[in-house]
């Protein structure tokens, strides 16, 4: 492609693509034209349109840009673990055009000043769209409400308590009731902290064998039930983040049948790995919620397939190496996933555990709906898209990763899915060197 950068009204035509249209329709061997940040022509019409630049998709898939509801950019405050520039560039490489920034920053995103800081940082240094998630309680302490209306005005798209949770059910109920007043969406990681206690791994076979401190399944399911009941009572728009248990999926499905406005997501690594990943004390797989059993994994995949789980997230948590270089129980939780999320999903497609349309829906339209948006490859829509070859492979390793976090789930192993181009608002956010 000749030096297309989306500026100065230049237009771009992507040719030879497999276009993923709304309702999982596909156009093969097709073109799409972008001008002024907007999709202007698709299919036959695009074939007959001339553009200033062309990009040969070489038979690769052209899909809406991926949307991540849970991404840690570590800015402000944790520069040793990552920053907006490094992590959004990594996200663009992974095919993402929108990432929601978790409120667990330092300082916590509980004031419009911090929200503006994140948005200004993204404006200046991110090639993709960054949507801040506000802290629902001040300092994520789970005690005092943040200025939710003010934060929403400053640009927070939803509210949660990050990885900290809210211990007190009365506070949780008030958080929901107050958010409901303004029609705001709340996103919570269901975890009963008294039951999770000092645990850091699924309470089961591997914790028993290795003597690790377990987080029992009921730490999640008791919290899911509590949140569903409170959401039903308060009428808030509840989104449950990063489910890990089969039983949680069942409870969400039941709640939907009762008409409760609840949505849910799962982290991609939960669909690929189980508790056995910790069998060699590999601290990378210290994640929260913990990786659980094979039957949980299968139920989570079924949840995605059946639409009970609306979105798959990266739950990207970059760390400096020291945070992971210690005995397992002394390490910090989280994987560096944003560059491998799509590839992990394509591994599930290769194994016939998930179809490509289901995967893409859970990475695009599913999360977008939760944010109140409807992205699609259609004329007039913003040109947020990615082009990837699902069969080409790449090998993540500490030197090839862009993220400051080198603890990717699969290292030194070929993974399917190479993103050749990511366009955010019509501008090139990522282009692979081979193009």
């Amino acid at each position: 492609m000749t030096a297309f950068n989306g500026h100065s009204g230049a237009s771009l035509k992507i040719t030879n693509g497999r276009l993923v249209l709304p309702d999982s329709r596909e156009l093969t061997d097709a073109s799409i034209v972008i001008a002024n940040g907007v999709i202007t022509a698709i299919g036959a019409e695009a074939d007959n349109t001339n553009a200033d630049h062309t990009f040969d998709a070489a038979g690769g898939i052209v899909a809406p840009g991926l949307v991540d509801l849970c991404c840690n950019l570590r800015e402000p405050g944790n520069g040793q673990k990552g920053n907006i520039a490094s992590e959004t560039r990594a996200a663009a490489r992974g095919g993402f055009t929108t990432v929601c920034a978790s409120p667990d920053t330092s300082p916590v995103n509980d004031s419009s000043a911090v929200t503006h800081l994140i948005r200004d940082g993204a404006q200046a240094r991110s090639p993709i769209r960054v949507l801040p998630i506000g802290a629902i309680t001040r300092g994520l302490e789970g005690e005092l409400l943040s200025d939710l209306a003010g934060l929403a005005g400053a640009g927070c798209v939803a509210f949660g308590n990050g990885s900290r949770g809210i211990r007190n059910a009365r506070i949780l109920r008030r958080c929901m009731a107050y958010a409901q007043t303004f029609g705001l969406t709340v996103m919570f990681n269901p975890e009963n902290q008294a039951l999770a206690a000092d645990g850091y791994a699924h309470d089961g076979l591997v914790t028993s064998r290795l003597g690790l401190l377990g987080i029992p399944e009921v730490a999640e399911t008791a919290s899911v039930m509590e949140m569903l009941l409170l959401a039903e009572e308060t009428g808030v728009r509840l989104h449950l983040s990063q489910l890990s248990c089969a039983r949680s999926v069942e409870m969400v499905a039941d709640a939907r049948r009762r008409g409760i406005a609840v949505t849910a997501d799962v982290a991609m690594h939960q669909l690929l790995f189980t508790e056995e990943a910790l069998a060699g004390f590999d601290s990378r797989f210290h994640v929260r919620p913990p990786l659980r059993t094979e039957s949980d994994r299968q139920a989570l995949i079924a949840g995605v397939r059946e639409g009970v789980i609306d979105a798959i997230v990266s739950q990207h948590q970059p760390h400096d190496s020291a945070a992971k270089q210690a005995p397992l129980g002394a390490t910090e939780p989280g994987l560096s996933t944003i560059e491998s999320t799509l590839s992990m999903g394509l591994m599930l497609v290769q194994r016939d555990e998930l179809t490509l349309p289901d995967l893409l829906a859970a990475l695009t339209s599913g999360p977008s709906r939760i944010l109140g948006e409807t992205p699609a490859l259609q004329e007039g829509a913003p040109a947020d898209l990615c082009v990837f070859n699902p069969d080409a492979t790449w090998v993540p390793n500490p030197t090839t990763l862009i993220s400051a976090g080198r603890h990717a789930p699969l290292l030194g192993q070929a993974m399917p899915g190479v993103v050749s181009l990511t366009l955010s608002n019509g501008k090139v956010a990522w282009q692979s060197e081979t193009h």
Partner: protein
Amino acid sequence: MTANQAPKRSLQLTEDGQLRHFLTLDGLDRALLTDILDTADSFIEVGERSIKKVPLLRGRTVVNLFFESSTRTRSTFELAAKRLSADVLNLDISTSATSKGESLSDTLLNLEAMASDMFVVRHSQSGAPHFIAESVTPGVAIINAGDGRHAHPTQAMLDMLTIRQHKGGFEGLKVAIVGDVLHSRVARSQIRALNELGAAEVRVIAPGTLLPRDVESLGCTVEYDMQKGMKDLDVVIMLRLQKERMEGALLPSEREFYRLYGLNQDKLALAHPECIVMHPGPINRGVEIESAVADGPQSVILDQVTNGIAIRMAVMSMAMGGQVAERNQNLAGREQA
């Protein structure tokens, strides 16, 4: 099918199956465990000589790296290393570097700079010796002296040596482990060793709050009622109960625990008449065991301590041997190349 990666090359074995670290009994087969017991047997005789030394680790430096305090285990490791003619450095890290904020990795780098050949590690975190074995310079052997709730493989092996001395072998044996299995690295290693060596039955006897989730998956049966659990036992192993277990509502009181799960003469009478009584120590008299039993004719608790030195000599000399063999092989390989 999941994408969990296949285990890498065994961390504690060389390519030809020799011990090079001793971290856990997982992955060690019956032949190797028997080899450890036989080697230890040969060292028992050394302890009976007037000059109790063999030169197997002469010129080697062994560092006792204890992040958790211990008297018995550390002193038997020290004696074992000295009987193998090694130079020994005892570091009580719980009161030194890490309390000044130094990370474990940094502590290790400093110690490696002192050209040590072996670290004997005790740590409160499960898996800490694995972490150290993965990050240490090749050629340095790591011996696990107890990590968190995970493993205490030398303790389990000295228990196996004691059982073999008294019972002749493991075939057909019925063994019970009584007490706080949940927090016990000793119990986990013992269950593994007894299964691998062919014991007929391993029972754990404890209230539900002191058992790990899915404990049967470790290779044992569960009995809540100690009276029933004592039936036909050849070996009963009592575990130490930490006083703090009353705090998180795991147990109501020492009194109730002792009444239900303490070993006294009445309960011991329910076992096979030749049943031996073991305890990894230090014992809490009147909490998990009655003095008359601890000091009685069926108790082999002091044999366990004596055997501890021989087992530790065996494991240290075998791991050093594996490291040396591997180094020689690598050198030969490089010369050929």
